[in-house]
Each structure stands twice: as C-alpha cells, then as structure tokens.
Amino acid sequence: MTTTAPTEQDVLTGLADVLQEVVGTAPEAVVPEATFDFHLDVDSLAMVEVVVACEDRFGVRIPDEDLERLRTVGDAVRYIVDAGAAA
C-alpha cells in the first residue's frame, strides 16, 4: 500500500514486479503497448492473480466489470494511477 498517489513510473515498475512473480515475465517486456493476453501470455486465471496483487500493492480496487478495458499494460497503469488519485 502507498500513502501518496503513485506515479505512472511507480505503477509500471510495480506491475513489472507482479508479472515477473505471477507469470515469470521479463521486466523489459512490460511496456505500455504490450497486451496482457497476446504479448505477455497472461491467461484469465493469471489475470485474476495480477489484479489481486495490484490491488494489494497500490491500494486500489479493480472491479471485474472494468477488467475488459485493461487490455494493455498502459491501460492498467493509467487505470491504477487514476484510481489512486481518486482515492
């Protein structure tokens, strides 16, 4: 959890950590334009783990109905930054 709203770079770095832990993704592959399913090989089960880990790490909630909007790393980073700022 963070006490101040994280920057896009903070979230990108944190997301890379999560992806490395959950699916073994190389950190350099975690770039804004990468899609979770096609480029990063995150299947639907792993995506649930990624979401829960991000929620814990960044202190945000990511409801299931918003998930389909998060196709790329960049989508997720902006969503988490915006959600953190709104919190």
């Binding site: 699916v23 089960l45 649930v48 829960v52």
Partner: protein
C-alpha cells in the same frame, strides 16, 4: 481381443530417487526411502513416518506455483518416460493419457483452506480448482504432450496407478489411440491425511527405526508408510512401435479387474476378489498360472493385507510358487502411484532377469505361503510377471507383463 502392447518408455520419481535408474538401483540394493517427519507440524501425530521425494530444481518457479505437488511429480515422471520413449512422433488425435491419483490435489485444498480462513476469499488462488481436481495430473500431462485422443483419470485409491495401465491397454486394443501415456501420481504427505490413516491404525509407528518400518510379510510389520511420487509408462501399439523402430522394454499382455464388495477399507480375508483379478488378468493375457515367472506384490506391510494377498495368490496360482517381491519395503506406499511405479519395477525385472529382494524381511510370517525373495536379489530370467494392486473401496487390479 487380447493382443499385448509395447512398453516403450519408463519414468519414475520416487522416494528412492529422481528417476527410473534410481528406483531400480534402490530396489536392487535394498535402500529405504523412509524418514521420520521432524517438522513441527507433524509433532503431535501418532504416526510420523513418510517416504518423500525431492523436487528441488525439477520445475521452474512459475510452473511450480500453478501446479499442485501431485501434478508436479506426475509431470516430472511423464517427461522422463516420454524422453525415454524417444518422444514418439504421433498424431495428437492418436495420443491419449490415463493417469490416476488416489487423493488428488490435497495439499492445495488444505493450504488454500488456510488462506480462506486467514485472508478471506479474494486471496484464494484462481488456480485452486485446477490444482485440486483429481484429474489435474492427467490433464497437465495431456496439455504438455498435446494429447487429443482423450485424457482420463481412474480414481481407485491404491489401485489407481494399475487401473491406469489397464485402461491404457484397453484404449490401445480398442483402436482409439496409437500411443497412451499411463501412470499414477500421489503427493499428500501432510498432517491431516497422516492423522486420518493413523486413526484407521493403518500406519507403522516404528519411529525409532524409519528405514525398518515398511516390512511386508515380516512378523513384526505394523502398518504401511505413506509415500509420494509418480510412475509413468509409455504404451504403444506393437505395429506403431515397430514402424518407428522403438526400443521395447517389455509388454503389457493383460489386465484383470475385480471388486470385493466386502468392506470399505478392510481386505476380504478370503482373498477371492483379488484372486479373481489375477485369474482374469492371466486369461486376458492368454497365460497359464504355471507360466508366471515373478509377482510384484501389492504387499503394503499391514498385518491383514499381506496375508489376504498371499491367500489370493495361492487361490489363483494353485501349487505354483513363483518368486515374489514387494517394492513398498523400500519405497513406502505411494497410494495411487504405487501400481504404476510397481509396473515400472516389474518391467525392469523382466527386462533384466532379476527379482529384487524384500527389504526388512527378517522373520517371515508363517501365514504367508509364498516364495518371497529376501536378503539378496534373485537372478531369475523369466517371461511373465504379475503386478497386483488393491485399493480402499475393494478395488482389485492385476497386470500381466511379458518380455
């Protein structure tokens, strides 16, 4: 139809070591894979012995975190068997998997139950269901090999592994597949299953001498030792194996299945169900009782079970007394993996012409009228082997293997 099928690949991850070579070496030298469980979570248990495997470095970290331990041991053994078979080129639609487990992903079920209680439902792993389902090991192996002719999981307690071999034989004979990867896997060394087996008074409590705890046919036996691991065989239609010039270790020539309808866990002391499975297997293979060259017995080291099986073998084999061995004296009891690991051992006995000795058989039980091999392995070239497996629930499975 009763045609045999070829065994072209072998794999085993057992308490005797990381592969088939370690299993065979352990059986021939009479090593024990049993240890005292000294971790604190086992301290309160009345039975604290187990035969465990070493998985360190066998799977990558990401692979390991989405696979229950029973799936991990299955994959390791399947990879060895597949490589040993020369990674046969087979159409995916002609490749099947039959891989049994007695218990399934118990360790995941138990650890995730703790997660649910401690941290709530949103912390429960999304991999929970595929990790705990009993067909998980079969499905994981099927995924890895790309098997599309069917993936099956016989669940018949300690006969599961043998039943998988029987189902694989049936699939090949039916023409539904050219290659079937068969086996069994188990991994449930945890305080709860141990407490449950202990409450049945099924486990040895020889804590002062773990390596002597599993002692089939010995007067001093006091129960089995829980083991973990996996055994896998690649079975192949003879023509398919011949066409690709595959090395054939031995053959599965017949299988016989029966059920006791006697008691949910106790063996039928008359041994009639077990005997019927032996007779059915011999008939299926077209082999007479007198032709049996050795028996790889189920023999778990329980006071009742070993005698019931000996009675059954007497019923089925008449006056014939082939040499008998009992791998569980070294490996412990691998439950749903046992029948598959012991089928691997029986194949090696046939191929090498040697029957390993039963470890810890110091004082043979007078109630056992069998020629049990003890003290040293017996050089014994032979053509036909039996492997018997019996499970809680009254499952009786016998396999006939030939050179």
């Amino acid at each position: 139809m009763s045609e045999p099928v070829a065994v072209t690949g072998l794999g085993a991850l057992t308490p005797l070591g990381p592969d088939v070579a370690a299993l065979w070496d352990g059986l021939l030298t009479g090593r024990s894979g049993v240890r005292l469980l000294e971790e604190p979570e086992f301290a309160a248990l009345p039975a604290r012995l187990a035969a465990t495997v070493d998985l360190d470095g066998r799977l990558d970290r990401v692979e390991a975190r989405t696979l229950d331990r029973v799936q991990q041991v299955a994959l390791v053994a399947a990879r060895e068997a597949w490589a040993d078979a020369g990674a046969p080129e087979v159409e995916p639609e002609r490749l099947a998997v039959v891989l049994g487990s007695g218990i399934g992903g118990a360790l995941t079920l138990l650890s995730q139950d703790a997660v649910l209680r401690d941290r709530g439902p949103r912390s429960v792993s999304p991999h929970l269901v595929p990790m705990l389902m009993p067909n998980g090991p079969a499905a994981r192996v099927g995924l890895e090999l790309g098997a599309r002719a069917g993936v099956h999981c016989p669940v018949s307690a300690c006969a599961s592994g043998a039943e998988a071999v029987a189902q694989g034989l049936a699939l090949l004979r039916s023409g539904a597949a050219d290659v079937v990867v068969v086996g069994g896997a188990e991994a449930c060394v945890h305080p709860l299953p141990l407490a449950g087996f202990a409450q049945m008074r099924a486990l040895s409590t020889r804590h002062d001498a773990p390596a002597e705890a599993s002692r089939p046919y010995d007067k001093g036996r006091d129960g089995f030792v829980l083991g973990e691991g996996a055994g896998v065989l690649v079975l192949e239609r003879e023509e398919h194996a011949a066409a690709r010039g595959a090395r054939v270790h031995a053959r599965v020539a017949g299988a016989g299945l029966a059920s006791d309808a006697h008691h949910i866990t106790a063996p039928d002391p008359a041994g009639t169900g077990a005997a019927r499975s032996v007779t059915a297997a011999l008939r299926d293979a077209g082999v007479g009782p007198d032709e049996v060259g050795h028996v790889d017995a189920h023999a778990t080291s329980t006071p009742l079970g070993d005698v019931a099986e000996a009675t059954a073998l007497g019923l089925a084999l008449g006056a014939h007394r082939p040499p008998v061995t009992a791998p569980k004296s070294c490996t412990g009891h691998l439950l749903g993996a046992a029948g598959a690991v012991e089928a691997v051992a029986a194949v090696l006995s046939l191929r090498e012409g040697v029957v390993p000795a039963v470890r810890n058989l110091d004082d043979p039980d007078d109630a056992v009228d069998l020629d049990v091999v003890r003290l040293t392995p017996r050089a014994h070239p032979h053509e036909v082997a039996l492997s018997t497996s019996f499970g809680f629930g009254g499952h009786d499975v016998t396999l006939v293997l030939t050179r």
